[in-house]
C-alpha cells in the first residue's frame, strides 16, 4: 500500500455492527459446542435459548444500524455472491433448527443446528474478508481469526453455563485450551499478514495497542488457569470461570477493535503508470442475480 493516503477510519459500521460479530459469533459457536457437548442427547432449554439470544442480539444490533430497517427482508435477495445474505439465511435456519431441536429434544436437529452455528461463524469471517475497502478486514487471515475466537468464546460461554449448573466438563476445558492456542496463533498470523501487506500504519498501531492484553490476559492467562484446573480439579469453579470470562471478553474486545477502530479505509493512491490503449475487461454484470420487483 505504498503511497496511499487518506486512510481515514470508516464510520459506517459502528458498535452495532461490531455487536453482531461479538454476540452473533459467540452464539453461533455456543450452539455448536452445546450440540457437541450433549451428543447423543440434547442440551437443556436454557443453553439453547441462551445461544439464540446471543445470535438474536447480534442480528438485532445490525437491524438497528441499517438505514431502511423495514426492508430487512431484502437482505435475502443475493445468495449468489453476498456473504451477508448467506449469513442471514443461515441464521433463519439456525433459529428454526435450534428452537425446534431444543423443544422437541431432537439430537439430529440440534446436530444440524450446531453445523449451522459453525456456518454462521464462517459467514461472518467471509463478510469481513469481502470488504475490499478495509485492509484490516479484507486480509484473508481475518477469517480463521474470526472462526477461532468465535469457537473459543462459544466453548468458554458453554463452560460458564455448565459450571454454574454444576455440570462442568473437563474435556470442554481441554477443547477450550486448544481453541485458545489456535486463536493465539491466528491473532499473530493476522497481524503479521497485515504488516506484510502494508496495511495502514494507523490500523497496525491500533492492533498493536491491544496485542499485549490480548496475548497475556486473553490467551496466556486463561491457558495457565485452565492448566491449573487440570492439575487441581478442586479449583474448577473459580479458576475455570475466570479463564472463561477472560477468553470471552478478550475475543469481544478484539472484534470490537477490528470493526470499529482498526477499520481504516483503503485510501487513495497514485497507480503504476502505463502506456497504450488498455486491455478492456468487460463489465462482470450479474443481471441473472438481480432481484427485480414487478413494479407494474
Amino acid at each position: 500500500m505504498q503511497n496511499t493516503f487518506g486512510n481515514v477510519l470508516q464510520t459506517q459500521w459502528d458498535w452495532r455492527a461490531a455487536g453482531n460479530f461479538m454476540f452473533g459469533g459467540s452464539g453461533g459457536a455456543l450452539i455448536l459446542m452445546a450440540a457437541i457437548a450433549s451428543w447423543p442427547g440434547t442440551p437443556n432449554l436454557v443453553i439453547g435459548l441462551a445461544a439464540l439470544a446471543f445470535v438474536g442480539l447480534g442480528l438485532f444490533l445490525v437491524w438497528l444500524e441499517i438505514g431502511r430497517p423495514w426492508r430487512f427482508l431484502h437482505v435475502f435477495f443475493h445468495p449468489q455472491t453476498s456473504w451477508m445474505t448467506r449469513e442471514a439465511s443461515v441464521s433463519v435456519l439456525l433459529f428454526a433448527a435450534t428452537f425446534t431441536g431444543v423443544l422437541m429434544q431432537a439430537p439430529t436437529l440440534l446436530a444440524a443446528a450446531g453445523l449451522l452455528g459453525f456456518l454462521f461463524l464462517y459467514c461472518q469471517g467471509r463478510i469481513l474478508r469481502a470488504s475490499k475497502g478495509i485492509p484490516a478486514w479484507r486480509e484473508p487471515a481475518v477469517a480463521p481469526l474470526i472462526m477461532s475466537t468465535g469457537l473459543a468464546e462459544g466453548a468458554a460461554i458453554l463452560s460458564i453455563l455448565l459450571i454454574f449448573s454444576g455440570a462442568g466438563q473437563m474435556w470442554l476445558l481441554y477443547l477450550l485450551m486448544g481453541l485458545l492456542a489456535w486463536r493465539l496463533v491466528s491473532w499473530n498470523h493476522y497481524r503479521q499478514r497485515l504488516a506484510a501487506n502494508n496495511a495502514p500504519p494507523a490500523a497496525l498501531k491500533i492492533l498493536e495497542g491491544i496485542n499485549r492484553p490480548q496475548v497475556i490476559l486473553g490467551n496466556a492467562l486463561p491457558l495457565l488457569l485452565l492448566a491449573t484446573v487440570i492439575v487441581w480439579p478442586d479449583l474448577l469453579q473459580p479458576l475455570a470461570l475466570l479463564a472463561c470470562i477472560l477468553a470471552t471478553a478478550s475475543g469481544w474486545l478484539m472484534k470490537f477493535t477490528i470493526i470499529t477502530r482498526a477499520a481504516k479505509v483503503q485510501g487513495y493512491a497514485l497507480g503504476k503508470l502505463q502506456k497504450g490503449r488498455p486491455t478492456i475487461k468487460p463489465p462482470v454484470r450479474r443481471e441473472k442475480d438481480r432481484f427485480v420487483f414487478d413494479r407494474d
Binding site: 426492508r71 497504450g276 463489465p283 438481480r290
Partner: protein
Amino acid sequence: MTRYVMIADLNRCVGCQTCTAACRHTNATPPGVQWRKVLDVEWGDFPDVQRLFMPVGCQHCADPPCMHVCPSTATAQREDGIVTIDYDLCIGCSYCTVACPYQARYKVDRPEFAYGDLPTENEAKRFDERTLGVAQKCTFCSDRVDAGVEQGLTPGIDPEATPGCVNACIADALSFGDIEDENSNVSELLAENTWFQMHAELGTEPGFYYLWDADDKRQGTERVNIDVQDTQE
C-alpha cells in the same frame, strides 16, 4: 458493446472544484456528500515538494466489489458498465460502502440542505426521498447519458449526453466516453498518453483512468510523505 469510462488528466486539473459544484448542483446532493470531489495531494520535503489535484468518485469498476457484497441486489451494473443503485431495493446496510476501495459511497439518513432547514429552489426540485437511508454515489449522470443517446447524441462529445462534471470542467481535464470504441475520445486519450488506474492491484478494473505526465520525476515510486487535503471535508 459499449463501456463508458471517465478520464481525469492530472496534468490539466487545477483543483478548482467546479466539477464538484456542478455535480452537487446536478444531483442536489446534501452537504458533505460529494459524488465527485477533488483531492489536493502534496508530497515531498521542502524544497522538493510536489502537488497535484486528483478528481475521485465512483470508479464504475468492471468487477465492482460493492455489487458482489450487496445483499439486496440494489447495486447492479448496466451493460455499458455503469454501476447503479436501486434506491427502492437498498436496505442501507452500508456493506457496499466498506467494500468500496474508493470511498465513493455515502448514506444520508435525514434531509439536509445547503442553507439550513429550507431547501434551495434547485434542492427542492431535485430532492428524492428515496435516497434517504440508502447508499448513494456517482451515477455517471446515467439519466443524461440515456436521454442523450435516445436523441442520437454521443456521450462525451455532445454536452447533453455527457456527465455534468465533465461539462463543467474549466481545464478540459475530465473526459467521458466509450472505451470499447477504438476511435472514441477516451480511447485516443489513453492511446496517446501515460495513465494509471487507482488500486488496480485489487482487481476491480476501474472505469476511471488518470492521465499523468510520464516525463518528470513524479512518476517514480519513491514518493514519500504524501499528504492529502480533502478541501471539501
